[in-house]
């Protein structure tokens, strides 16, 4: 498939935004049961703002891949059948939930709902945040399922796809949370950093699993099933046009093979081992700069990972577009 930059930015930005919110809420719930020192509302409020900005930027980026963005409101109507439609409903819902969560923290409304002394200032946010977490998981699911539900895109059609979106986005968000904590709440750096590493390692396992699976894939479609002529030896002589068409632009990544392969190894290095080392280093030295570089390098690597995710998919329609003459 041809990787669209707007979608690459969309999925990485919202992934990081969602992961950051998950990190904040995890921190808050740990604080609620007194496993972590409590933070004041401003910590969560500013963090939510960053998360909202990332999600908002992702939403804006997504408009760039539409031919008619002014009609985008219609996309919410087919949620019964389309994962894209569901994502379009859930994404603003997550944005709204995180915004409300951050606002309630900022305003400091304390309703003492539980009536017990929770470790946090404000237990309304615990409930709102829980809703936000559910919506966040739903958003990861919707985003991943948009690609996984197309069963003949065999590279994508696996439960590993939404799991990878979840783990990679969360890892990225926790890395950002580590940076954020290093700046505003240094006592939480080891917590966020530790979890960032754990999630990163899990993401490495699942992403490698999908790479290995894809390397072993046997395509179900062949020239024989594509045109229905059952002969062992067949080649295409002409694809019907000689100047290219939508079918030759949209479904091929267009990069030379050496670049395609090198991007795979590059992202594997930039997303997993280097940030892991930098996070550990940064946690040890409590250095914002090192942690920031960990997040930055990882994000760059995630952009490449997303490009590779799209580029690796072989659409069966490519069987019909092999030769020109």
């Amino acid at each position: 498939m041809h990787p669209a930059f707007s979608v690459i930015f969309l999925t990485t930005l919202i992934g990081t935004g969602q992961g950051l919110f998950l990190a904040l809420y995890t921190g808050e719930s740990y604080a609620a049961v007194k496993l972590l020192p409590a933070q004041d509302g401003a910590f969560y409020a500013w963090g939510s703002l960053v998360s909202v900005v990332l999600l908002g930027l992702g939403l804006v980026a997504s408009f760039f891949h539409l031919g008619h963005p002014e009609r985008a409101w219609r996309t919410a109507t087919k949620w019964r059948t389309s994962w894209l439609s569901r994502e379009v409903i859930v994404l603003p819902a997550v944005l709204g939930a995180i915004a409300v969560y951050g606002a309630v923290h900022a305003l400091g409304w304390n309703l003492s709902i539980f009536g017990i002394d929770t470790g946090v200032e404000n237990d309304l946010t615990l409930i709102l945040g829980a809703g936000g977490v559910l919506l966040t998981f739903a958003l990861f699911l919707c985003t991943g399922m948009i690609y996984a539900c197309i069963k003949f895109l065999q590279e994508w059609s696996t439960w590993l796809t939404p799991v990878n979106y979840l783990l990679l986005g969360t890892a990225s968000g926790f890395s950002l949370a580590t940076v954020y904590a290093a700046m505003l709440a240094p006592e939480l750096v080891n917590f966020f950093g530790g979890w960032a590493i754990i999630i990163l390692v899990s993401a490495f396992i699942t992403r490698s699993a999908s790479l290995i699976r894809n390397a072993r894939l046997k395509p179900k479609s062949s020239l024989q099933t594509a045109i229905g002529v059952r002969h062992k030896t067949m080649t295409q002589r002409s694809q019907g046009q000689m100047g290219g068409s939508f079918n030759t632009r949209e479904f091929l990544h267009g990069a030379p093979m050496w670049l395609f392969r090198s991007i795979k190894w590059t992202f594997l290095v930039l997303v997993f081992p280097i940030p892991l080392i930098l996070l550990s280093l940064g946690m040890n030295e409590a250095s914002v700069a090192v942690l920031l570089s960990a997040f930055g390098i990882q994000y760059l690597g995630l952009l490449l990972e997303r490009w590779f995710f799209f580029a690796q998919a072989n659409h069966p329609q490519n069987i019909y577009y092999q030769t020109i003459s």
């Binding site: 219609r74 087919k78 389309s82 045109i227 229905g228 949209e250």
Partner: protein, 243 residues
């Protein structure tokens, strides 16, 4: 229920591209248009076509066959492009099974083209909406056209009658008969899309001659076996020696 579709006979298609150009002509100025062309007179011209004819070679010299393969939207009975559309612009008509795109609703996200395993959909770079074969829905129901001509433009244009049009759910229609009698098949059946368009395979024509057709049954002289046979290396005068 009705399911209109095309049956394309690969046994007679000669790859003349008449269906390609007639489809482009009918649709580019019609309800399904425009169909933009880029670089029309420059390098690597490209454009939106609903129907394309491809060529494949089967086998190796000297036992090879050149198969010309027209491809357009197959109007699947279980179209994968319909449920994925977030706006409902991609839909399948209840009354005749034609899969269409509502250009006013389409946001141009291209998701439906990802969902089509056949690559039957083309995105128009100028109108920024997805377009595809409409089975000439504006032609087949047009009362201003004589009844016999209410067929898709490609079917009318084909000089070898390689394209047949009708209702595949009606067992007596031309297309159903062709599918049954010539072994019509669907493309990429492994994905469960159940395309309505079928293709008829290459067939070898065999003339079978029976022994008793070589001997006349009503020969008045009944002298078949007594025919004089002259020496082979002398000049003969064709049939006159047998009288």
């Amino acid at each position: 229920m009705t399911q209109l579709a095309l049956v394309i006979d690969l046994n007679v298609c000669v790859g003349c591209h008449a269906c390609v150009t007639s489809c482009k002509e009918w649709n580019t100025s019609g309800m399904a248009g425009g169909m933009a062309d880029d670089n029309p007179y420059g390098a690597d011209p490209t454009g939106t076509f609903f129907n394309r004819v491809q060529t494949f070679e089967v086998g190796e010299y000297p036992c090879s066959e050149t198969v010309h393969f027209p491809k357009s939207c197959l109007h699947c009975e279980d179209p994968p492009c319909v449920p994925v559309c977030p706006t409902g612009a991609s839909y399948k008509r209840e009354e005749d099974g034609i899969v269409l795109v509502d250009y006013d609703k389409c946001i141009g996200c291209k998701y439906c083209s990802w969902a089509c395993p056949y690559g039957a959909r083309e995105f128009d770079e100028h109108e920024k909406v997805m377009k595809k074969c409409t089975l000439c829905v504006d032609r087949i129901y047009d009362e201003n056209i004589p009844e016999a001509e209410r067929k898709p433009a490609c079917v009318r244009a084909c000089p070898t009658s390689a394209r047949l049009y009708g209702d595949v759910h009606d067992p007596d229609s031309e297309v159903s008969v062709a599918i049954r009698e010539a072994g019509g098949y669907q493309l990429m059946p492994e994905w469960g899309t159940n395309p309505a368009n079928h293709y008829l395979p290459r067939r070898k024509t065999k003339i079978r001659i029976h022994e008793d057709e070589l001997v006349r049954a009503d020969n008045p002289l009944k002298k078949e076996t007594d025919r004089p046979t002259g020496p082979i290396d002398e000049p003969t005068l064709d049939d006159s020696t047998s009288w």
